[in-house]
Amino acid sequence: MTTAEIEITPKIIKEHGLKPDEYDRICTILGRKPNLTELGVYSVMWSEHCGYKHSRALLKTLPTKGPTVLQGPGENAGIMDIGEGWAVAFKVESHNHPSAIEPYQGAATGVGGILRDIFTMGSRPIASLNSLRFGPLTDPKVKRLFTGVVRGIADYGNCMGIPTVAGEVLFDESYSENCLVNAMSVGLVRHEQIIRGRATGVNNPVIYIGATTGRDGIHGATFASAEITDESTEKRSAVQVADPFMEKLLMEATLELIHGELLVGIQDMGAAGLTCSTCEMASRGGAGIEIDVAKVPKREKGMTPYEILLSESQERMLLVAKPGCEQKVHDILAKWDLHAATIGFVTDTGRMVVKENGKVVVDVPAESLTEAPVYHPAKSEPAILKKHREFDESTVPVAPDHQAVLMKLLVDPTLASKRWVYHQYDHMVRSNTLIRPGSDAAVIRVKGTKLGLAMTIDGIGSYCALDPYEGAKIVVAESARNIACSGAQPIGMTDCLNFGSPEKPEVFYYLDRAIAGIGDACRAFNIPITGGNVSLYNENPTGPIDPSPIVGMMGLFQDVETRVTQWFKNDGDQVYLLGEIGNTIGGSRYLQVIHGKKTGACPRLDLKVELALHKVLIQAAGQKLLQSAHDCSDGGFAIALAECCFTGATHEAKAKGVKSSLPGKGRVDGRLFGETQSRAIVSCKPSDAEKLESLAKQLGVPFEKLGVVGGDKLIIGDAIDVPVSTAGDLFFTAIEKMMS
């Protein structure tokens, strides 16, 4: 029996993840019943992953415009102007579910997918970042996942020759059965070389390039294979297999094609494979596309049109060549020993037509595939949020030995150095990495100019679980603060929203409030969002993951010589706290690690106060007043100050001691380890102290003179007095010890 002859039953519709009214809608669009292949095509394009059914209405509220935004959401990646004819393309994407099943391949293909998004726009990838979430690292299963994910990211990026320059890792029960792997990539492109995923020009050839198409990664929501054809009885795999070498060749060939001005448009085949690239390119170009799947290079025999259209085999691209350029395209692909096949052409019908040896197997309006239904799910505030808000901090005893607390927090794998991770990533290749992993933000130079790019990716512990609105604001604020600490101006961001099932009103409440928080913060900081990704249905058997919005932030230096790192430089430098010390412990790592409580009101964030802090940091860096600047966040003031002492080791700088006061009033643990927002620890030469103070005064940012860099001990008031080398050893070796 062929796929066209299979009768569509309610069971088949359900197995495709389509609701009865969605099926009715398809019938209305087509004016007839879809065949099985068409049903498959709609099901992937109308899935949450491709269609954003539950999140699209909320995403529309986010600010996406700005004078330097060259490309906002809706393309393979966002692009922003950075001056001198250069632009930066960047985007973050999730690969959570594949990584939970097969950590190595899942993470590797996640990196491959986001890199393709970047070079598809004509930009050469210059850096990668990633944000990872796992269950507790004491769990052997988590160690296996962590090892596999890191190795998968490393092997892919290293082989591609693209430095992995920054990231973050957090360990928490909430991710035990559902790890998160969010990968971000950044590329550079000349304005005139930007290209988009559009199909235009009737009869222009549609060309398939790259790896062959196999049965890997066919939509998990499809049938058991026996029901589709008699021949294809193999069990299908939902996880794709990575081939970074193939992707490296594909990248070089693609950039050569684009820079040779041979193409009208190009799009990678990621989620939903050939289906997605075909209908999206047609839809964006306001055109139609006709292809014949018999011409697609295949790695297996007997593949049905259904399988070919839904395969998620990696390292493939679809392009539309300019008239008369088809042969040149084939020549370049031959140079790189890559497959290229002209599989169809552009039409003016607005339809996506797929044939198999001339026989029509799919004929649907292309645009209808890219316009999935939009839902406005029910939401209700979870009762637990009130409990968190009303948690009485005074019931938590002050841990008596502050120094012991510091030691314990330094080896908490969430706070400890991620050296074990980033030493596995080639973070120096292409010789542009000026600030390597281990400071608040990575900094990459733009060769041939004075320009520099600062970049960071951040989520934040449990704040969003305690207060999704305030927490999401903090995620944006912290990542912008990291950029500002490096001395760069935040210019734009990309986000990945990792949440549970949107069909649960309590989960949708989190999503709704988090997006509101992100939007408010971005508007206050004037930071547009140029694209991103939504990953829903992240669930453990015990319930959803903690709501986890992840933000990738891009910063720009007009003169990269003004960059600042987080560690102390010289004995005798003055140390300041910019911002208020505070004493709240709600939502802190201290409360969680030392007292075993993931609760409390998460810290408040005043967007105006935060913005003023960024201004001081950026202006002070621009005037070269700062010797160091470090965001004071997870683990609180004491951890941040300790990091200022010893993290220079990441750049072969000598550790430095400090003798600091403990400012503020109220509970000592709150002042040492609380996570009050809008703070940074900076140091400057004594001769610049006056200028720095007057700048802070002028911009209305409170500051506290903490003390002086020097000696070989970390001293904080009379609470902490510890050799820097002891603290540093704990911090750097904690994860290595747990993994050996």
Partner: protein
């Protein structure tokens, strides 16, 4: 002076080599695709790092059979200067231009960081601008950089003074703790008997400027340029 950098499918430090030779050291550079056999009259050939042919089979194992490597082999046998960096070192070993082999790091992990290297021999065209005992800060970035050779081979290496650089600590002490990958006797780089072919795992191509972490790689390039200038006279 004219350098030719070989480019294999999967090379990825070819850009780093091009940048440091042309923009930092101010020399001429040609990029030679692996399918070509004309090296374009170089004074020195650079076999760069990366993952040539995806490291399939074994690092460097396939690259040695490419057309360009035949030309490199002939060039080296005529006494031409050849430097292989990282994957390039692996390729030169596979091609038989250098003795020994690079095997998986002892940690079984890829490792990327700056390490210190003791210049043991300055009587090579690649280290002539260094002081004997000088410590160079150079980055490594490899998963298979542990140098191995059988005991007979090691004897020969030593007898001919072919061990050029060894991993060391910041002060120049060659210690087990400063060995990043388990290389025999901390070996980071060696030359052939005739001293015109040099391979090393650390990257002088990624350490030409302080702003990217170190300028010590310049000493290697300066040495090559100096030896060429000397030979020309």
């Amino acid at each position: 002076m004219r350098f030719s950098v070989t480019v294999f499918p999967g090379s990825n430090c070819d850009h780093d080599c091009e940048w440091v030779i042309k923009d930092v050291m101010g020399q001429d550079v040609e990029m030679v695709w692996h399918k070509e056999t004309d090296l374009r009259k170089p004074d020195c050939v650079v076999v760069p790092g990366g993952f040539s042919y995806g490291d399939y089979l074994r690092t460097g194992a396939i690259a040695r059979f490419s057309p360009v490597m035949k030309s490199v082999d002939e060039f080296a046998k005529k006494g031409g200067l050849v430097i292989g960096i990282c994957n390039g070192f692996q390729i030169l070993c596979e091609a038989g231009l250098l003795p020994g082999a690079l095997i998986r790091n002892k940690s079984l992990q890829f490792s990327c960081r700056n390490v210190y290297n003791l210049v043991e021999r300055t009587d090579t065209p690649f280290t002539g601008a260094c002081q004997k005992g000088q410590v160079l800060k150079l980055p490594i970035a490899h998963g298979e950089g542990s140098y191995f050779i059988d005991s007979e081979g090691m004897k020969k290496l030593k007898a001919n003074n072919q061990v050029v650089v060894r991993y060391c600590d910041e002060t120049g002490q060659v210690t087990p703790g400063s060995n990043p990958n388990g290389s025999l006797e901390n070996i980071a780089g060696i030359c052939n008997e005739k001293r015109n072919v040099f391979g090393l795992m650390p990257h002088p191509d990624r350490s030409g400027e302080d702003m990217i972490g170190s300028h010590d790689g310049q000493y290697i390039w300066k040495s090559i340029i100096k030896s060429f200038a000397g030979a020309a006279r």
